[in-house]
């Protein structure tokens, strides 16, 4: 059955994205890795929707795309605003609040 195949792809994409968020320090690449995690979740939602004969998963993918677009717009705007104050993209160096 192919449902398991789609779920494996979704899980692998999600794990790759999570690994990227953990090991990469460039803020923009970290945002891209979050997009990769969202892609994995989207594949899982669409696969379950197709094999459960339900439209809810597809609708949730539409909302997920919306939230992803909003998240990237805000995240990149924060990065641009931040880079005016501190010209740094390495998130380890953004520790002004850590006291």
């Amino acid at each position: 059955m192919m449902l398991n195949g789609f779920l494996v792809v979704g899980a692998l994409l999600f794990a790759l994205g999570a690994t990227g968020v953990l090991i990469r320090r460039n803020a923009i690449v970290m945002l891209m890795c979050i997009e990769l995690m969202l892609q994995g979740a989207n594949v899982t939602l669409a696969a379950f929707s197709r094999y459960l004969d339900d439209q809810a998963g597809f609708v949730l993918v539409v909302f997920s795309l919306t939230v992803a677009a909003a998240e990237v717009a805000i995240g990149l705007a924060i990065l641009v605003a931040l880079s005016r104050v501190y010209p740094v993209v390495n998130v380890d160096q953004l520790d002004s609040l850590s006291g």
Partner: protein
Amino acid sequence: MTVRRPGLANRMADNLETTVAFWYLAIAAVGAGALMLVARNPVHSAISLVIVIFHVAGLFVILGAGFLAVAQIAIYAGAIVVLFLFTLMMLDMRRLPEERVTHRQIWLGIPLGILLAIEGVVVSVGTPEISASIKGTFPPATVSELGGSTQALAVSLFNEFTLPFLGASVLLTAATIGAIVLARRVEAHEQADYPQAAEASSPDDTPAEPGPAEPVLEESAR
């Protein structure tokens, strides 16, 4: 009246072509995702993300969701990745210090990622066959009766999910306004609110220009 095509969801039996396409799309998507992690240059990561997005759109086509595939390509490849590339262009990575990946991140992050992947694969492979009793209200016959997967999606979206749909539009409006406000240049007379911005910027009349990278960097690296 032409004969109505049975719809992608209907024709999608587990035949050979679908299986081959699935394996190609799955391997290419995961491979490009892995490539995204190891690429040193953020632009290469963005291009790998585009490859992942196109292959996931192909997976959506196999799943019988043509509208989602097109929306995926239009929104992700057309808007989100372009936004990433614009930001990379504006931030001018060559002036910024190199990304430093420490050993602690590698030795903690990769085993955790592998653990997560194993966990996900085990759960995915162990997912049982879906029994007929828990199936939803949109079997392939109903979908093709409605005129296709896009129509079925619209029926569901505008009946069952109308309120979340309106909420999504509010979210997009808020995100647009927020992004404009955040990315706006700080005017000279407003700089009293942002003492660090005033400190970092050069003394002449270019408030948005960040100062020389070295001193600010040392100060923030503390």
